[in-house]
Each structure stands twice: as C-alpha cells, then as structure tokens.
C-alpha cells in the first residue's frame, strides 16, 4: 500500500468487483456444481448429496483463485458466471429427467 499517493478509484472499484465475483459468484458456482454432482452421480441420493457438498469447497476455492488471477474484473465475472450457467443447465436437465 503506497502511503503518500492513495490508490485510484478505478483500482478500488476493480478490487471490489473481483471480491464480489469471488465471494458471491464463487458461492453460486460452487452451489450449482454441487447440485449437478448430487443429481447426476450414479449412487444413492444421500451419498450423491454428501459428495456434492464435500467437493463444493474445492470448486469455491478455484473460483476465488481465478477471480484474482485473471487479468480484468470483467474476466473474473465471466469466469464464474459462464460455468455457473453451464452447471445450472446441467442441473435443470437433471431435475427434469428425475421428474419424468
């Protein structure tokens, strides 16, 4: 942290954006991915849910790392929202198939 010059507002905004992408977007992505695991794994219902929950934290970690490693804050959001959309589709498919 520079002590004499304060950081520009655009920098602070970008950091805030990355933090939100990591915390909120990452949680969303991890949740949707764990739902997919729970719906698609060929084991008993309870086992699939347990596996989904246990693995979710690794995915959350990867999302957080991505959000700060990528080049721009926009990329951070894309990096969590696009997989989230994919997981959401898979999950929706799984729910629809379970119903029929």
């Amino acid at each position: 942290m520079k002590s004499k010059t304060s950081l520009p507002a655009s920098y602070r905004l970008a950091v805030t954006s990355r933090v939100l992408a990591a915390v909120v977007g990452g949680y969303l992505m991890a949740s949707l991915a764990s739902i997919c695991l729970a719906l698609w794994m060929p084991v008993s219902r309870a086992d699939a849910v347990i596996t989904g929950m246990m693995s979710s934290f690794v995915l959350y970690l990867l999302a957080v790392l991505w959000c700060f490693a990528c080049r721009t804050a926009w990329r951070a959001w894309c990096g969590v929202l696009l997989p989230s959309a994919a997981f959401a589709t898979l999950a929706g498919l799984g729910l629809w198939m379970a119903r029929t």
């Binding site: 942290m1 520079k2 002590s3 950081l7 655009s10 920098y11 970008a14 950091v15 990355r18 991890a30 949740s31 949707l32 764990s34 739902i35 695991l37 729970a38 719906l39 084991v43 008993s44 219902r45 309870a46 086992d47 699939a48 849910v49 347990i50 596996t51 989904g52 929950m53 246990m54 979710s56 934290f57 959350y60 970690l61 957080v64 790392l65 700060f68 490693a69 080049r71 721009t72 804050a73 999950a91 729910l95």
Partner: protein, 524 residues
Amino acid sequence: MKEGFRQAMAWLHTWAGLIFGWLLFAIFLTGTLAYFKDEITHWMQPEVQAHPLDDARSLSVAQDYLQKAAPTAARWFITLPDSRDPGLSVMWQDKVDPGKRGNFIQKTLDPVSGQAVEARESMGGEFFYRFHFQLQMPYPWGRWLSTIAAMVMFVALITGIITHKKIFKDFFTFRPRKGQRSWLDGHNAVGVLVLPFHLMITYSSLVIFMSMVMPAPIVASYGNDTRAFFNDVFPATNNAPALGQPGQLLSLLPMYEQARAQWAGGHVGRLAVNNPSDVNASVNVFRASSDRVVHDFGSTVSFNGNTGELLRVSAEPSLPAAIGGSFYGLHMGHFAGPVLRWLYFICGLAGTAMIGTGLVIWLGKRQLKHAKSGVMPFELRLVEVLNIASMSGLLIAIAAFFWTNRLLPVGFAERSDWEVQAFFIAWGLSLLHAILRRGRQGWVEQLSFAALLFAAIPLLNALTTSQHLGASLATGDWAMAGFDLTCLASGLFLAWAAWKMRHRKAPQAKTERARPLQLKQEAN
C-alpha cells in the same frame, strides 16, 4: 504471466490473511485448547472424583436415577465415563406438545454413589470447545462466521503455497536472529512442515458444517423433505413414535452387552432412550467415537425398550459417508491416545503460530517504511492494536478464565457465567491497554502480565485447593499435574517472549525495500 499470477496470489494471501487473521488466531488457539478440554474441565472442577471404569455399575446407577428423576421424559441420554472424562452424564428432554422442543436438563452423577456430583459450576474446557466454532454469538451466526473464516483460511493456505517460491529449496531453512527474515522463515516453517495438519483441519471444518453452509444439493435432491436426508444419513434418529400406552423399560445392561457383541468388543459411548415410559420405548446404543478414526455417525444398535428385541444394527457406512466421517473424526481427534493428543496439540499451536507470525510480518514489513518518520499512519496503528489485543490479549483472557475459576467461591450460583465474563472483560481491557500504550510497550507489558498469570497458576492451585502439583504428581493424576505444568511452561515461554521484545532493536529502514503488493492495474 507467471509472475503476475504469483503476485496476484501473494496479494490475496496477504489481505485475506490480515482481515481474518485476528479471528482465525482466536479460533485456532481455543480450538487447540479444546483438544484437552476434558483435562481442563478436570482442573476446573477438582471435586469430581475419577473412579475405575465400570460400565455395568455406571449404567445401572444412571438408569435408576433417570427412572426416579424423569420417568415421563421424552428422551433420556446417558453418556458413560471414559478414561479422560470421569463424569457419568445423564440428560433428559421434557415431554411437550408435538412440534415443540422440550427443555434439556443435564446432570453429572458420581458413578459409584449414584448421586448428583457436587462440583463447582463451571463450563470447564467446554467453553474453549464451543467458543472456537460458535464465537459466543447467538445461533447460528457464530457458526456461519467461523465457517466463513475457515473458507478464508483455506484460500490463505493455498495462496500461501502458490506464493512460496522456494518451498522445496527452503524446506529446512530457518535463520534466527535476522529480523524480518527470521519471522518469515518461522512463518514458512510452521506452515510448510505442518501443512498436512493445517489442510486437514481447515477442510474438515468446512465439511463439518457443510449442511448449513452448502445446503443447495440437499434442497435440489430432496426438495422440501430435508428431514428425509438427515434420516438417510443418521438412521438412528428415525425412531418409532410413542403409542401412548404405558410400558415397562427393561434393564439397559443386556442391550449394552449385545451391542458390544455386535461391534466385536467395541466400546459404548452413550445410550439414548426414547419415550422410556411408553410401550414403544426404543433404545439406541451408540458406539464410542474414540474407537475408530472414521467417525461413524450411524454406528448404533437399536432395541425395543420393553421387549429387548434387537431392532436394527446400522450398516457399514458407504464410501462418501465414510469420507465425511473421516473428516469429522480427524478434526475431533476423539480416537487419539495421550501421545497422539499431544501431537495434535503441538500441531494446533503450530497453526496458531503460523497465523500469529503472519500478522506480525504484515505489520513489520510496512512499519519499516515509516520507521524514519516515527509517525504511524492510522491503518497501521489499527493493525498494531488489533495484533496486540488479539494475541497477547487473548492469552491474558484465557489466564483470567482460569484465575476466576479458582478465586470465585465454590458455592456461588452464577460462577460459571462470571468465569466466561471474566474472559471477555480481560480481553476487552487488553484492547483498551493496547490502544493507550505505544506498540512495543503494549506488547512487553501484556506478554509480561500473561507470563505472570500463567506461571503463577500452579501456586494459585496450591493455595486454593488440595490438589496442588505435589499431590497430583504423587497420586498420578496426570491431567491435574499436566495442566499446572503446561501453564508454568507457557508462563516461562511468554516471559522469554516479553524479554526478547523488550531488547529488540528498533526496526531499521532496510536498503532493500519490500515492494508493495498490488493487483495488476486495470486496463482502463
């Protein structure tokens, strides 16, 4: 790009570590103490006598007591004494209208006389255990906060590994007496060398509360019927309802023995009796969690309370359940014998030291830049105050907890609450002291005071009880003696730390400046 990646990870490690470091230090230190919570409770309630273990006698004593004290309760719980916890604990839940949760009443019995134990009221080691995941906050906020902290810890660990460029080259490197370099070497040493433990303890703490923080799969898979999920995972909670007709509960001892036979000699941890006065009473015998590493939540043998008929033996857990149980079991360490328990304790202290050294390094690096001007900007002063209060202040609070236990009168009704309040009052006063005193003075004074408090505990024990160090060593009461000796050793260590702090050279602005870490500037 590689350089940018590492730099970004270093930035994340530094900031995540700072913001949650103070909380994580407290969680780690109290959690580490919790590994010896039974021994701490024993020191804090010296009136509870340990007897040679006799499960049959304990069981009949407990059943008689509950039959007299709570014949119409909804549920009874009996926790048998073991080698670390000499108390025979009985608990019952009042019967109330369906849908409402009855009160739980707990009593500790003497397993020989069958009477409720007359010991001074105290939370004992349970206080540290509960604090480290509930943080003295109302349910469920404390658990949420501690689990969030665990996730940040996980991020900090992984980013730390990524950032540490020479993790193999510097594996054995520790260079003392070299200022900031030594602090960083120390941080790396307790981090890398004990890494398996840190990763295990952090990830397992996430798994322990995963149903609370990551409920999405449960809802997606079970819909509204989340109860069904918990029944699937913990079948022992699915008990036959009361029929409303009075029944006669058989002696629990044959059921105890049948359960042990099912487990090929495994130990019984506790028993739960549902609707004991009903004809449909059911008895669940739970296996002792100290039997195996993998904590098996479902390991129960269930009986009908009136006929003694064996209803159900829980099956071996599936692989996912066993993995979850492994995380739980490894975190709790119930299976650990005395040597392994000490190793757990040392690993926990290493984790605490890792966090503490990190906080000190964060400030130290930035203090160098302001060493010449002599004036510390507000943000750094804030970090300094929080560092002192969260580390030496917490140590003072822990010591105050123990001192209060010995100083308050045994018969004083609210003494348990006051012990806890003393902890927080002492912590608060330490914060105040840290605000009022200049950095190094604050450290030296608080470390010295903590050293004094801890080192004097054996003396305090000798003056206030009959179980002083000489007596406990003579009778082989290792828990009591161990507590006194560990406090003494801690006092000596803190005194050494205070002395080192006092004679430390003032930080010099180095010629090689630590470059400020910053995320890549955004393009626009």
